[in-house]
Amino acid sequence: MTHVLEARNLTRDYHIPGSLFKKARTVHAVKGVSFSVDQGKTLAIVGESGCGKSTLARIVTMIDPATSGEMLIDGAKVDIAKERLTPEMRQKVQIVFQNPYGTLNPRKKIGEILTEPLIINTSMKADDRRDKAMAMLKKVGLEEKHYGRYPHMFSGGQRQRVAIARALMLNPRLLVLDEPVSALDLSVQAQVLNLLADLQDEYQLTYVFISHDLSVVRYIADDVMVMYYGEAVEYGSREEVFSDPKHNYTKTLFAATPRADVDSIKARLARKNAA
């Protein structure tokens, strides 16, 4: 079976031009990362800010070309630096961003936001577009009456649902989720994670889930890749990575994650009283 997404040795360099006072330099944002994801599975990419995980997301969504390396989507090689992206390719990968307050155009109604990808990438008729958007609104737990409303009338969790609906309008194979729940409250976060799980079951979607919250990753991921300064320092199944972290950075990350169980609270209080 071919993988939905396969990356071989991807790199991305950014050239920062020099000026009168500064020398030009090159930032190696991603340094040779390889991975693959199968249909219906979730790959989580974990790392701190600046480790290259969002750059990787841009490469996978075909917004940015890779400097070197190969990327295969459904077995077909993609290189946007050399050839134009076809609408068919565009439809296969969609992205949901972190901040639902910044990613929805405040001057457009929800209906326009949802139908825009269809206008650009398909030749669907207006009526069909509208029907599809209505159906998608219900799918993500919103209502038909929300079609004519503006983004400011929605809460953060509802906006993230709109963003997910927009990403699904083109029936993508692969959904890149760039920190989709880190801006949301705990209970809303749970709702959105449930929604993502339901949608994955229904459409056999493949997720690339970018996050720095290990408790969310442990809940949602099948495979986990830990990135550190542009390199994949750890890559394996969720069980492998969580039960036996090998790289020092992964261990630091686990140690830094706050624990909310009774035993660790008891241990902390005991330490405090002893001090």
């Binding site: 209970s187 709702q191 994670l193 408790s215 442990r218 706050p258």
Partner: protein
């Protein structure tokens, strides 16, 4: 006597649709050397109640309380100029967005020395020495050089350290940290929380941490207040809150943690609790 005492605090905003009650009868006490965590979702009034206590809300807000006392001083009856002598000096606050709460037009050194000049009246040399000392305290490398940097030249974690340094500059008796680590990475979050806890213990400050992260609560607090829609739902010491939460809402909040997920789906609050059920067990 408690260091900081609020009784029956009510904050109302005048909106086009009539008055909106953001905080509805919240009471709390913080002793010196104690860490209190206020937990709640967005819109639960946790930040607003603290801003109200410090007098930082806009004029559209109507603040009433039976008691609003800090260190024996009634904050409600104070004139604005008297209030400013306390706020920023004895009560300090750290905000959620470190990069946004620093002024981008001035160096961080200027911003920390400004506090020292206004509240403590130190001369130029003493200000600089104290600023270097503070930067050193919060773990900023090369403090003397860093004083001349602008906020955009520093990372989010460094900016939050600068904010903490500014908050600590006058040795406050009470520190209010409003979501101090929400915008930061987990590894940086750990460093900042460790730093706050160490400084709190060393200086014997009262510390109020406002957060929606249960993990942060578990790692820092002595006592916890759970708020929902402007009302206090539960107050307990940290261990009994996690071990045997009394209210349905707290139980729901804890079970929504991905850590505690048992089945395929995470339980969500809206799915099985109505507002009436949540408020039924509310304490005053």
């Amino acid at each position: 006597m408690s260091l900081f005492e609020i009784e029956n605090l009510v904050v109302e905003f005048q909106t086009a649709a009539g008055p909106f009650r953001a905080v509805d009868g919240v009471s709390m006490k913080v002793n010196a050397g104690e860490v209190l965590a206020i937990v709640g979702e967005s819109g639960s009034g946790k930040s607003v109640s603290m801003l109200a206590a410090m007098g930082l809300l806009p004029w559209t807000a109507k603040v009433t309380a039976d008691t609003l006392r800090f260190n024996g001083i009634d904050l409600l009856g104070l004139s604005p100029s008297d209030r400013r002598k306390i706020v920023g000096k004895d009560i300090a606050m750290i905000f959620q967005e470190p990069v946004a709460s620093l002024n981008p037009c001035f160096t961080v050194g200027f911003q920390i020395e400004e506090v020292l000049r206004i509240h403590l009246g130190l001369d130029k040399k003493a200000r600089r020495a104290r600023a270097i000392e503070l930067f050193d305290l919060v773990g900023i490398p090369n403090p003397a050089e860093r004083l001349g940097h602008f906020p955009h030249q520093m990372s989010g974690g460094q900016c939050q350290r600068v904010m903490i340094a500014i908050a600590l500059s006058c040795n406050p008796k009470l520190l209010i940290a409003d979501e101090p680590t929400t915008a930061l990475d987990v590894t940086i979050q750990k460093q900042i929380l460790d730093l706050l806890m160490r400084l709190q213990a060393e200086h014997g400050m009262g510390l109020i941490i406002i957060t929606h992260n249960m993990g942060v609560v578990a790692e820092t607090a002595d006592r916890v207040i759970v708020q929902y829609k402007g009302r206090k739902i539960e107050e307990a010491d940290v261990l009994s809150l996690f071990e045997s939460p009394k209210s349905e809402y707290t139980r729901a909040l804890l079970s929504a943690l991905p850590d505690n997920a048992t089945g395929d789906r995470l339980p969500t609050i809206a799915e099985f609790l109505s507002d009436d059920q949540i408020f039924a067990g509310a304490v005053r």
